[in-house]
C-alpha cells in the first residue's frame, strides 16, 4: 500500500550515477560560480560565460599542441590569460555600457558570446578536436563504482578552488572589498574602494573560473566552438536555482543539476533537459529567491 516508489528508481545504479552526476555537477558549479561572481560584483548577468571559457580552452589547446607546454604550465598561463581577458572585457566594453536599462548589458554579453563563437571558429575552425587528458591511467574502483582519474581531478580542483575562494572572500582585504561592493556600491565607494577595479577583478576571476571548467570538460566533451553550449545553459540554470546572489548557492545548484542530469540521462535521456528545467521552474515557484538566495526587497 505504501510502496509507491516505482521499482525503476530502486534498481538504478545509484552509486555510479551519483559519482557521474557530482563530476558533471562540479563543472556546472564552477561555471555557475563564475556567473554569480560577476553578477555579485558588477550587477551584470553575463551570457558570455560559456564562450569566454571555450575561447580560453582554445588558448590552452594552442599552448599544449603548438607550443608543446606541459599541462600544468599551459593551465596556469591559460588562467592568467582568462583573468586578463575578463578584466579587459569589463574595462573596454562593459564599463562603457549604459546600465540605465538591464537589457543593455544583457544584449552586450549575448553579442560578446556570438562574437567569440564566430571568432573561435574563424581562428581555430569548427572541426571537433580531442583535448589532451591532463591525467591518464586506470580508473579508481570502489566496489562496482568506477571513478575515472579525470573525474577525480575534477573533484579535487573544484574542492580546492572553492576553499581558496571562500577563504579569499572571508579573510583577504580585496575579497572583503569585493563583498562590500556587492553589498552596497555607494557605501563601498565612500569607503575608498575603487568600484572599477573591483568590477574588473570580478570579471577576471569569473572568466578564469570558466577557463578551468573548459579545460576540465574538453577532454570529455571534445573541443570545438560549440563545446560549452549545453554546459553554459545548465550552469546558468544552476546559478538561478542557487539564487544568483549566493556563491554557495551556485555550488549547490550546480551539483543538484549534475545529479538530475545524470539520473535523468540514465532513465529518460530524451527528457534530460525537460526534467532539469522542470525542476528549476518548481524551485523558483516554491522559493522565488532560489535555494540559497536572498530575497531582494526594495523600499518604495
Amino acid at each position: 500500500m505504501l510502496s509507491v516508489t516505482p521499482d525503476v528508481l530502486i534498481d538504478l545504479p545509484w552509486g555510479q550515477l551519483l559519482v557521474n552526476g557530482l563530476a558533471l555537477g562540479s563543472l556546472y558549479a564552477l561555471t555557475a560560480f563564475g556567473i554569480v561572481l560577476i553578477y555579485k560584483t558588477t550587477q551584470v548577468i553575463t551570457f558570455a560565460q560559456g564562450e569566454t571559457a571555450m575561447f580560453s580552452t582554445f588558448v590552452a589547446f594552442t599552448l599544449l599542441t603548438a607550443f608543446q607546454l606541459p599541462f600544468a604550465v599551459a593551465f596556469a598561463l591559460t588562467l592568467l590569460f582568462a583573468g586578463l581577458f575578463g578584466a579587459l572585457i569589463e574595462r573596454v566594453v562593459l564599463r562603457r555600457i549604459s546600465t540605465t536599462t538591464v537589457l543593455n548589458p544583457v544584449i552586450v554579453t549575448v553579442g560578446l558570446s556570438l562574437i567569440l563563437l564566430g571568432g573561435a571558429g574563424w581562428i581555430w575552425g569548427y572541426e571537433i578536436r580531442t583535448f589532451p587528458d591532463p591525467v591518464v591511467g586506470p580508473p579508481f574502483r570502489f566496489g562496482t563504482i568506477v571513478l575515472s582519474q579525470l573525474n577525480a581531478l575534477i573533484f579535487v580542483v573544484t574542492l580546492v578552488l572553492m576553499t581558496i575562494l571562500f577563504a579569499f572572500f572571508r579573510f583577504s582585504p580585496t575579497g572583503i572589498a569585493m563583498r562590500a561592493v556587492a553589498e552596497n556600491r555607494m557605501a563601498a565607494q565612500l569607503m575608498g574602494i575603487s568600484i572599477g577595479r573591483m568590477n574588473a577583478l570580478g570579471w577576471g576571476m569569473g572568466t578564469a573560473m570558466g577557463a578551468v571548467t573548459g579545460m576540465l570538460i574538453a577532454p570529455i566533451n571534445y573541443l570545438d566552438p560549440s563545446m560549452m553550449g549545453d554546459v553554459a545553459l545548465k550552469a546558468f540554470a544552476a546559478a538561478v536555482v542557487g539564487g544568483l546572489t549566493s556563491l554557495p548557492g551556485a555550488v549547490v545548484g550546480g551539483l543538484l543539476l549534475g545529479i538530475v542530469d545524470s539520473v535523468a540521462g540514465f532513465e529518460a535521456p530524451e527528457l534530460r533537459n525537460s526534467i532539469a528545467f522542470a525542476l528549476i521552474v518548481i524551485v523558483l515557484v516554491v522559493r522565488p529567491a532560489g535555494l540559497l538566495g536572498r530575497r531582494e526587497t526594495k523600499k518604495v
Partner: protein
C-alpha cells in the same frame, strides 16, 4: 484581436506549403525554353550539410564534392557546361535546412541537388524537393524514406539503415555469438530506423527486445548512457550515432570498464573516429558499402587518393571525403548521360536507365523507373589500432 491568429495561420500555411505557384516546376523545365540552373555554359548544382556543430565532421563531404566539380571544370566541364556548385551550412539543424534548400531552389535556381545531408534534414525538405521536382542525386543519408514510397526525383545510393541494421543484427547473432543486444541511437528518424530494424530482426527470431538507449544531438555528456548500456547486461552494442556522440559513448564505456562487442552503422566510417573514441574502439565492427578508402591495391582508390592530393590536399583521406568523391562521380555520370539538351526530365529519364554502373567507387549501381533504392549490400571492417581492416566480403540480407 481575432485577426492575429488568422494572420499567423495564413503565414504558417504560406511557409509550410511547398507547391507555391511561383516555384519552379517540372512543366516549366520541360515545356519552357529555360531550365532552372542551366545555361549554354553552366549548370548550377546545390547541396547542404553541417560545416560546424555536433555533426561538423561531415562538412568534408561537401568540400570534397566541391573539389571534385572543380576538377571536372578544369577538364572542360560536361557537354560544354561548367558546374557551379553551391553548398549551404545548416549545422545539422533541420530548420536551417529548410531555409537553405528554399534559397538553393528559389534564389540560386539550382538544376539539381547532390549530397544533401542528414536524415532529419532530408525529411524536413522532402515534400518540398519532391513538389518542385528538383532531382536529388545521392542524398547523404541511409533513410529508407528516400526510396520508399518511390519518389521520381530522389535517387538514393547509400545502403539504407533498415538493411544495414538488419545485416548487423544477423551478423551478431549468427557469427559473433551475441546473446543480448543494446542499441545506442540518435533520437530521430535516423537512429530510430536503426533501432526498429534491430528490434524487428529480434522479434522475427522470437528473441527478447534490445535495450534502447537514446541521445539528443545537442547532448555533450554520455556517461549516463554508457552506464545504462552496461547495466542492461548486453554483450553487444549496436551504434546508430554520428561521430561526436558515437566516439564519446565508446570512450565512456571504456572508462567504466564495459567492453561489449561493438557494431556500428557506416555513418562513422572515418579515421576521425579513432581520436574521439580512444583505444576502446579496438575490435568494433563497422559496416561499409564503398571500398576501403586506404586500400591502395584497388585502382579506383588510387585514383581517389591522387585526386585528394591534387584537389583537396587539406582534407583527410577517409570515409567522408571518399563518399564526397563518389557523389561527384555518380552525379557527373548522370550529367553526361543526360546529354547536351539538358532538362530535368531528360536527366532523370537517363538516370533511370542506369544498369550495373561500375565507373564509380560504388561497386555497382542500377536504377529503374520504379526503383531508386541504390546499394543493397555491405561488408564489415574492424577497428584495429587506428585503422579499419576489412574482415568480410559483401553481405546481402538473408
Amino acid at each position: 484581436m481575432a485577426v492575429v491568429p488568422l494572420l499567423v495561420a495564413l503565414l504558417v500555411t504560406a511557409c509550410g506549403s511547398g507547391t507555391t505557384p511561383g516555384a519552379p516546376s517540372a512543366t516549366a523545365s520541360t515545356v519552357g525554353a529555360t531550365v532552372p540552373g542551366v545555361t549554354g555554359t553552366e549548370v548550377v548544382v546545390g547541396s547542404w550539410g553541417p560545416q560546424d556543430g555536433p555533426a561538423g565532421f561531415y562538412g568534408a563531404i561537401d568540400r570534397t564534392l566541391d573539389a571534385y566539380f572543380k576538377m571536372i571544370n578544369d577538364q572542360g566541364g560536361i557537354n560544354g557546361r561548367k558546374i557551379r556548385f553551391i553548398y549551404e551550412n545548416d549545422s545539422y539543424q533541420p530548420a536551417k535546412t529548410v531555409a537553405a534548400v528554399k534559397k538553393l531552389v528559389e534564389e540560386d535556381k539550382v538544376f539539381a541537388l547532390c549530397g544533401g545531408l542528414g536524415t532529419p534534414n532530408n525529411a524536413a525538405v522532402m515534400d518540398y524537393v519532391v513538389a518542385n521536382n528538383v532531382p536529388h542525386v545521392w542524398p547523404a543519408t541511409g533513410t529508407t524514406m528516400l526510396a520508399v514510397p518511390f519518389k521520381k526525383n530522389i535517387y538514393a545510393v547509400q545502403l539504407n539503415y533498415t538493411t544495414e541494421a538488419t545485416i548487423a543484427t544477423q551478423y551478431a547473432l549468427d557469427q559473433l555469438g551475441t546473446k543480448k543486444i543494446a542499441v545506442f541511437y540518435q533520437n530521430d528518424a535516423f537512429g530510430k530506423e536503426g533501432l526498429d530494424a534491430v528490434q524487428a530482426e529480434l522479434k522475427k527470431r522470437n528473441l527478447p527486445a534490445a535495450t534502447a538507449v537514446s541521445y539528443e544531438t545537442a547532448d555533450t555528456n554520455f556517461s549516463a548512457q554508457a552506464l545504462k548500456l552496461q547495466t542492461s547486461g548486453a554483450d553487444t552494442v549496436i551504434l546508430y550515432a554520428v561521430p561526436k556522440p558515437g566516439g564519446s559513448i565508446i570512450a565512456e564505456m571504456g572508462k567504466i570498464g564495459y567492453a561489449p562487442k561493438l557494431l556500428s552503422s557506416s555513418v562513422i566510417n572515418d579515421p576521425s573516429i579513432f581520436a574521439l573514441a580512444g583505444s576502446a574502439i579496438n575490435g568494433m565492427l563497422i559496416e561499409a558499402y564503398l571500398p576501403a578508402f586506404d586500400d591502395t591495391s584497388n585502382p579506383k582508390i588510387v585514383e581517389y587518393q591522387a585526386f585528394m592530393a591534387k584537389y583537396a590536399p587539406k582534407e583527410q583521406i577517409g570515409g567522408f571525403t571518399e563518399v564526397g568523391y563518389a557523389y561527384g562521380q555518380v552525379f557527373i555520370e548522370a550529367l553526361k548521360r543526360a546529354g547536351k539538351e539538358l532538362t530535368r526530365e531528360g536527366f532523370m529519364a537517363n538516370l533511370d536507365q542506369m544498369k550495373n554502373f561500375t565507373g564509380s567507387l560504388v561497386p555497382s549501381l542500377s536504377y529503374s523507373p520504379t526503383d531508386h533504392a541504390g546499394v543493397k549490400a555491405a561488408y564489415f571492417q574492424a577497428a584495429k589500432d587506428g585503422k579499419f581492416v576489412t574482415v568480410t566480403g559483401y553481405i546481402t540480407l538473408k
